[in-house]
C-alpha cells in the first residue's frame, strides 16, 4: 500500500470512529421509541428515531467478509499449461476477501458526500511449491459527489459502469474488467470527473478520466459522453469514448480490452411482455490490434476496427425461478484456423524451452513471453450464456450457468447457497471446463474446481 492509500485509510478509520458515536445515540433513541432488542418495532409508536431525514445524516459503514477454500484439478491436457509446468498453480488454497465502505454527508442539505470503498484480498495456498502467495489491500473507490437540482458532479477515484447487459458488457470501457470472460468486477476505479445533467426523459454524462497507476501517476487521458433516453418503456443510450489507449498495469497494451482510440456505441433495454426484459449493447471500436500466426509459425499483426455486441433476456418463471440467456458477438475473435495455428506454435515453442539448460527463472520468462504474446481469452467470435436460478425453501438458492463458445468449448457451473441468517451466507460452487486441445476453454488452466465460501455482511 502506498502513502496516498495510507492517508485514505486513516480517513476511513476516522470515519468509522465517528460513525460509532451517532450509532450509539441512534440505538438509545430506538430504545426510547419502544423498539425491541431484535429490531422489531411496535406499531403505534411514532418512530422519529427512524425517520430517514435524521438517519441519513449519520455516517454509513457497511461491508462484507468472505472466507473460503478452493480445490482445483489442473488441466493436464492444456497446450498452454502442460502438466502445470508453466504457471505453477496450487491444488488448493484458502482465500479471505474483505469489502468495506464508509460514506457521509458534508452538508446539512445532504447534497455533498464523500465515499470510500476498500477491498482486501489474501490468498494462502495449501500446497505451495513455488512460494506463490497473493495478498493486497487497496482503495477501490474514493470520491466526492454532489447534486443541485438537475445537475450532479462526481470527482475522485471511481468505478463507472456503462451499458445495460448482464453477462458480457462491451460498452463498459471506462473501468473495464481485465478479462471479459470473468464476470466479477475485480478492477479498481480510475481517477475521474463526471458531470451529469438529468431530466425525466433525458440524461447526459460528460466524463474525463485518466488511467490509474499505483503511484497515482497516470499518463493517459480519456474522455467520453453518454446520452440516455427513456421513451415509454424503452431505455436507449448513445455512447462516445475517446482518448489515449492504455494498458492495465503489467499487461501488454495489445492484450487489454481498451486497446482502441475511439468507441461509439448504443444500448437498449425494454420490457418484453410482463415477465421478461430484453436488452442489448453494440460497441464499435475504431481499432484493435491483435497478433496471430500463420502455418509456419510467423507472428503477424492485425489492426482493424471491430464491433462487439451482446443481446439478452431475463425471463421470470413461476415459483421464484428465473432464466437468463445472452449472446455475445466478439468482433476481434479468431478464426478456427488462426486458433489452431496459435496452439500449434505454442506447443512447439514450449517444447523447445523445457529442455534448455538455463536457469528456471529464465525459462519462466520465456514461457510467459510465449503465452502472453497472444490473447488467450475472448478468442472466439460467438458465445452463449445460459443461466437458471431458483430459490428453494427461501433459505436455499440453486443456480447453474453454462457458457459455450463457437469452438464447442465452454464452462459449466453449479452453485448452491444457504442463508444461515440475515448476516451469514454459506455457498458452494463447482466449475467444470470442457473443450478439445485447440479450443479456448479446452486450454483453460483449470479443468474443474470446487469452492466453498462463508460470507458475513455487516
Amino acid at each position: 500500500m502506498n502513502r496516498i492509500d495510507c492517508v485514505i485509510y486513516l480517513i476511513v478509520l476516522w470515519g468509522v470512529v465517528l460513525s460509532f458515536c451517532p450509532a450509539a445515540s441512534l440505538m438509545a433513541a430506538k430504545r426510547n421509541a419502544g423498539i425491541s432488542a431484535d429490531g422489531d418495532q411496535e406499531i403505534g409508536h411514532h418512530l422519529d428515531a427512524l425517520n430517514p431525514e435524521a438517519e441519513e445524516t449519520t455516517p454509513e459503514f457497511q461491508g462484507e467478509f468472505k472466507f473460503g477454500g478452493t480445490v482445483q484439478s489442473l488441466n493436464n491436457s492444456s497446450i498452454i499449461n502442460p502438466d502445470n509446468e508453466t504457471l505453477g498453480l496450487n491444488g488448493s488454497e484458502t482465500v479471505l476477501d474483505v469489502h468495506a465502505q464508509i460514506s457521509d454527508y458534508l452538508t446539512g442539505g445532504q447534497n455533498l458526500r464523500w465515499v470510500v470503498k476498500s477491498y482486501g484480498f489474501s490468498s494462502y495456498p495449501a500446497i505451495d511449491n513455488s512460494g506463490w502467495k497473493e495478498d493486497f489491500l487497496r482503495i477501490d473507490e474514493a470520491f466526492f459527489d454532489g447534486g443541485w437540482r438537475n445537475w450532479f458532479v462526481s470527482i475522485g477515484k471511481r468505478r463507472v459502469n456503462w451499458g445495460t447487459t448482464s453477462a458480457w458488457n462491451p460498452l463498459n470501457v471506462i473501468v473495464p474488467a481485465k478479462n471479459p470472460m470473468l464476470f466479477d468486477p475485480p478492477t479498481e476505479g480510475h481517477p475521474l470527473f463526471l458531470l451529469n445533467f438529468a431530466s425525466d426523459h433525458f440524461n447526459l454524462d460528460l466524463i474525463a478520466t485518466r488511467d490509474f497507476d499505483r503511484n497515482w501517476d497516470g499518463t493517459y487521458n480519456r474522455w467520453g459522453a453518454r446520452l440516455g433516453m427513456l421513451w415509454g418503456d424503452k431505455d436507449i443510450g448513445v455512447y462516445y469514448f475517446d482518448g489515449e489507449a492504455y494498458a492495465e498495469p503489467d499487461v501488454p497494451v495489445y492484450l487489454t480490452t481498451p486497446d482502441y482510440s475511439r468507441l461509439m456505441g448504443i444500448s437498449y433495454s425494454s420490457n418484453f411482455f410482463s415477465d421478461a426484459t430484453l436488452y442489448c449493447e453494440l460497441a464499435s471500436f475504431s481499432e484493435n490490434t491483435r497478433y496471430y500466426y500463420d502455418r509456419s509459425g510467423n507472428q503477424m499483426e492485425k489492426d482493424a476496427p471491430v464491433i462487439r455486441g451482446a443481446l439478452g433476456s431475463v425471463i421470470t418463471l413461476k415459483n421464484n425461478a428465473s432464466f437468463h440467456v445472452e449472446w455475445y458477438y466478439n468482433g476481434s475473435g479468431y478464426s478456427l484456423n488462426e486458433k489452431r495455428n496459435y496452439y500449434s506454435w505454442v506447443d512447439s515453442n514450449l517444447s523447445t524451452i523445457y529442455p534448455l539448460a538455463i536457469a528456471e527463472s529464465e525459462k519462466e520468462l520465456l514461457r510467459n513471453m510465449t503465452i502472453l504474446n497472444y490473447q488467450n481469452w475472448a478468442m472466439n467470435k460467438n458465445y452463449l450464456f445460459l443461466a437458471y436460478n431458483k430459490l428453494l425453501l427461501d433459505r436455499y438458492e440453486f443456480g447453474t450457468v453454462l457458457i459455450t463458445a463457437e469452438d464447442a468449448s465452454g464452462m459449466f457451473s453449479v452453485k448452491g447457497a444457504y442463508s444461515i441468517s440475515d448476516y451469514y451466507l454459506l455457498e458452494t460452487i463447482l466449475y467444470q471446463y470442457f473443450g478439445d486441445r485447440n479450443s479456448e476453454f479446452g486450454n483453460f488452466i483449470v479443468k474443474n474446481s470446487a469452492a466453498i465460501n462463508l460470507s458475513s455482511s455487516f
Binding site: 425517520n51 431505455d235 411482455f273 415459483n319
Partner: protein, 250 residues
C-alpha cells in the same frame, strides 16, 4: 298469435337492454368503489417504512426492512435497509419501467414487474402499492358478508396483458370502502395468491397496516408486510426518481 310474437320480441329486447344497462351500472359502480378503496391506501406522495417477513412451512425465514418514497401515481423508489446483505439495494418504478440497483456489483438492471421481490410472495409491483384503478376495470359482483361485515365483491379485469395479475376478486367494506381481501388470478384463470389487508392499529389513521400475501399454488408459504411508519403529503425532488440517481444516495 301475431301480437303474442310482437310482445315476446319486445320483451326480449327490453330484457336485453335492461341487462346491458345493468352491466354498465355494475361497471360504473365497480369503478367508483375501486377508486374510493384506492383512496384509502393512497401512498402517491408519501414516505412509507415497512418490514416484510417471509414464512415457509409456517416458520419465519427472512425479515426485510425497506423505505419507500413516491411521487404521484407513476414514480416509486424502494430502498432496502435490512438485512445487511441487501442494504442499499433499490427498486425504482417509473410508469411501466422497473429497475433494480445492486450496489455490490454497481449495476442497474431492468427487471420485470411480475418477478417476486427478493423471493417473497409479493411481486415487485405489489410493493409499490400502485392504484388498482390505473390498471384494472372493476365490476360489482354483489354484496357479501366478510368477517361479519357487509362487503362489496368486485371483479377486476386487467386493462392490458402486461399487468402482473390478469384478474383480481376484491372485497371492500361497504361502510367505509376499506379494502379487505384480494384474490389474484392468472390469465388462464388459476388462483395464484390471496392478499388479506388488516388494520391492527390506529397509529396510521386507520388505514390497513398489515398485508398478508398467501401463495395458493404452494402450501405453507406466505409473506407479511407491515407498515411501520407513514408520512403523507411528502414532496420529494424529481431527481431521486431517475435511473441515473439510483447509484447515488438520494
Amino acid at each position: 298469435m301475431k301480437y303474442v310474437l310482437y310482445i315476446l320480441v319486445l320483451l326480449l329486447i327490453a330484457t336485453n337492454l335492461y341487462a346491458k344497462t345493468d352491466s354498465k351500472k355494475q361497471l360504473k359502480d365497480g369503478n367508483k368503489i375501486l377508486s374510493k378503496s384506492d383512496d384509502k391506501i393512497d401512498v402517491s406522495a408519501a414516505l412509507v417504512e415497512f418490514d416484510m417477513k417471509v414464512y415457509r412451512k409456517n416458520k419465519l425465514q427472512r425479515t426485510y426492512k425497506m423505505t419507500a418514497k413516491s411521487s404521484g401515481t407513476e414514480k416509486n423508489l424502494i430502498e432496502f435497509t435490512h438485512p445487511p446483505r441487501n442494504k442499499g439495494e433499490k427498486i425504482l418504478r417509473v410508469g411501466d419501467n422497473i429497475w433494480m440497483y445492486r450496489p455490490k456489483i454497481n449495476r442497474v438492471m431492468r427487471v420485470s414487474g411480475r418477478s417476486n421481490s427478493v423471493g417473497s410472495d409479493f411481486s415487485n409491483t405489489d410493493l409499490f402499492f400502485i392504484r388498482l384503478d390505473r390498471d384494472y376495470t372493476s365490476k360489482l359482483l354483489g354484496i357479501e358478508k366478510y368477517n361479519g361485515e357487509k362487503a362489496y365483491k368486485l371483479e377486476l379485469l386487467a386493462k392490458s396483458e402486461d399487468v402482473t395479475y390478469a384478474k383480481i376478486i376484491y372485497w371492500v367494506r361497504v361502510k367505509d370502502y376499506m379494502p379487505l381481501k384480494r384474490e389474484h388470478y392468472t390469465l388462464s384463470g388459476h388462483k395464484l395468491k390471496t392478499l388479506v389487508l388488516e388494520t391492527t392499529t390506529n397509529a396510521l389513521k386507520g388505514i390497513p397496516d398489515t398485508f398478508t400475501m398467501t401463495n395458493v399454488m404452494e402450501e405453507e408459504k406466505k409473506s407479511i408486510l407491515r407498515l411501520t411508519h407513514l408520512e403523507t403529503k411528502r414532496d420529494f425532488p424529481d431527481r431521486i426518481f431517475r435511473k441515473d440517481s439510483l447509484k447515488r444516495k438520494r
